[in-house]
Subunit: 68 residues, 2 copies
């Protein structure tokens, strides 16, 4: 299991939290995802045999947020 903290810009409210946590959380191989609005971060625990970090970043990007 891998752990990563991504810096993500543009998350501004509870709806954004739900959009990111919901979409990333649905990916196979992701066990936990937690947005910190104030820190502009997303903590993700995932199995890199099942899902790539690129896929996780792409999923966040697809919701309209910039992953740094």
């Amino acid at each position: 299991m891998e752990k990563v903290t991504l810096n993500v810009q543009g998350m501004s409210c509870d709806h954004c939290v739900k959009a990111v946590e919901g979409s990333v959380g649905e990916l196979n191989g992701v066990s936990t995802v937690k947005v910190n609005l104030k820190a502009n971060t997303v903590d993700v625990e995932y199995n890199n045999q099942e899902v790539s970090l690129d896929k996780i970043k792409e999923t966040i990007d697809d919701q309209g947020y910039d992953v740094e």
Copy 2:
């Protein structure tokens, strides 16, 4: 038909726009509702025989935003 511009705090992203426009737009008697994110305003056209301004304000408040 009445027209009102409400000052609303806390709307920060497109999800907020959808939450406010969707909920107010569903009220009987509301013909148009338009959020301006930059101005922190919500323009509403409504029939005051069918819906009260208080009901409109309450609906926005229920979505988690502060109507001034």
